[in-house]
Symmetry: C2
Subunit: 332 residues, 2 copies
């Protein structure tokens, strides 16, 4: 655990990749424009310029550089990945009926659900246009597969989130869909566009997959034990929204009949009362599932770092290593 | 005008292309499945098996055959086109808050808006997977451009539909987006996959574009003068939903101050009263805009037929010719 790093790993990457990221941002601004429908850049700018960390496009750029790429198309692919991410955020906010994202009102609140749905569709289409310009069928296959996995994971979450039969394997499928599929596609296409050998491409996929899973498990854990001032979320949001995540899934697996009845009432039936969140937290502590969840996140971060050994030595490889540590360093 | 044909042109095409269409339907059923999320095939089957005419995939198959194609990929492209169409229908019903489609309750009513948004996303992603399998970058570019134009047209419609400044050129952009872009892409990719010469590919694009525009203008006209028993729509739905379509756009262009005030109140402000639809119809008749709209549709159908001259002689070319007549034959 490197808690002593002065600059956060994604800030280090942003500095190292500053020229590339400027080109990615120019391309994003250029392609999110629409001659005919001014509503499109309005909505997109609201989200794109809200100051996300641009983690996913940086993963693509880093992977391409580590594998020695010196062509122009990693920029297109990085912008593609950010467009896919932005499109899914627009649609997620409609699906979740969210009112806030990154500390600002969501597009569906500022405009309407219609605009969020259609502008999301526009960005999906634009992302496919962008990747088509690379003339590389293999990256097209990877990114269209990832898009299908993302949508499938979201649909699965719709039906699985409030179902007490959801076990850790279903949770992992949802997490791969909603988070890890785009991380692993982002790193994999960086290697593919660089023409890297098959074992390096596999390593990049494995890194993105494990990093994405560690990232999402950490997020789900922080929902139950985070500091609202740091995470921007209130403790127990997932419980109140009746979302079955790993700490609760682990507690349900160990529940006695009375505890099971509690989870059925609060999550499956959604009949929550005052004091239920405290009782839920007590059950998570009783079965020690917060520690077990933290251990899982740590294990995925280790797997991410292990995958990096197959890649050439490179300053960006070191930053990817630190990034995997950073994702779980919040969980202390 | 061939009102004497015994079989409708799209039924003739369906008979002629029966083997191909069986393969397309198999591929659609295969690819709309999802191992992990059973909600996906439930929603998709509801729509895909509701008995649409499958006009768009037949256009792709016909174009490929006319240009002498004998490979397997026209099937993939036809399924791709139907997936894109189905995805846009799912999202349209959310955007329009529709309760009925093809005489059945819509997916957003039977399940929920979330499922319609996410399953639509899944089908978009699946469509890109399917087209990627053709290994043909040019068809990928055409279909991703069409997807962007569709979304752009829908967003433009959101902002233009209730704005009295919307003129015929904006209307044409919306129509190209919501209807003609997928028609023209469907025919164009059929020629491209067949390796047809550039002038044949242009002719196929022009045919699809003009057919799509004729089709949508006819639809918009029938909303004001159709027989509900035939069209399945009530006269005046677009007026009640405050959608500016060609008959009204033409009437607004000729409106005096009093008439303009009427359109401002009923369309722009949406303050409709009993008798307003009758008054609107009277204004359309006063300025003869239903006839003028019909003449426009006929003109686009003629352009569609003209484009066919550049294509090789083929039974399917004759059916495409009859199809252009049929689209406007309803307008008598």
């Amino acid at each position: 655990m490197k808690n002593d790093v002065r600059q956060k790993p994604h800030d280090q990457m942003a500095s190292y990749l500053a020229d590339d990221m400027a080109a990615v941002n120019d391309l994003i601004r250029d392609r999110m424009a629409s001659e005919h429908a001014p509503r499109i850049p309005e909505v997109t700018a609201h989200l794109v310029e809200a100051g996300g960390k641009r983690l996913r496009p940086m993963l693509t750029l880093a992977a391409a550089h580590i594998c020695g790429y010196d062509g122009p198309y990693h920029i297109h692919l990085a912008a593609t990945v950010e467009f896919i991410h932005t499109a899914t955020l627009l649609h997620d906010d409609v699906v979740d009926e969210s009112g806030q994202r990154r500390g600002r009102p969501t597009a569906n609140l500022l405009w309407d659900n219609k605009s969020s749905v259609l502008v999301g569709d526009y960005l999906f289409a634009r992302s496919f246009q962008l990747m088509t310009e690379t003339n590389n069928i293999r990256v097209l296959a990877i990114l269209s597969n990832a898009s299908a996995t993302i949508a499938e994971g979201e649909v699965l979450q719709l039906t699985a989130a409030q179902n007490l039969a959801t076990d850790e394997s279903v949770y992992l499928k949802v997490v791969r869909g909603k988070t890890a599929a785009l991380f692993s596609a982002a790193t994999e296409v960086g290697g593919v566009v660089a023409g890297a050998p098959v074992e390096q491409i596999k390593a990049l996929y494995d890194y993105g997959d494990a990093l994405g899973i560690a990232f999402q498990i950490a997020d789900d854990l922080l929902d139950y034990q985070g500091d609202a001032g740091v995470t921007g979320k209130n403790v127990g949001d997932d419980f109140r929204e009746r979302k079955l995540t790993l700490p609760v899934i682990k507690a349900i697996a160990k529940a006695d009949a009375e505890e099971r009845a509690f989870w059925t009432r609060t999550i499956e039936k959604g009949r929550q009362e005052d004091g239920d969140l405290d009782h839920a937290l007590a059950l998570l502590n009783k079965h020690d599932t917060l520690s077990a969840t933290r251990a899982d996140a740590m294990e995925w971060a280790e797997q991410a770092k292990d995958a990096l050994h197959a890649l050439p030595d490179h300053p960006l490889r070191g930053m990817l290593h630190d990034l995997a540590d950073y994702v779980v360093a919040r969980l202390t």
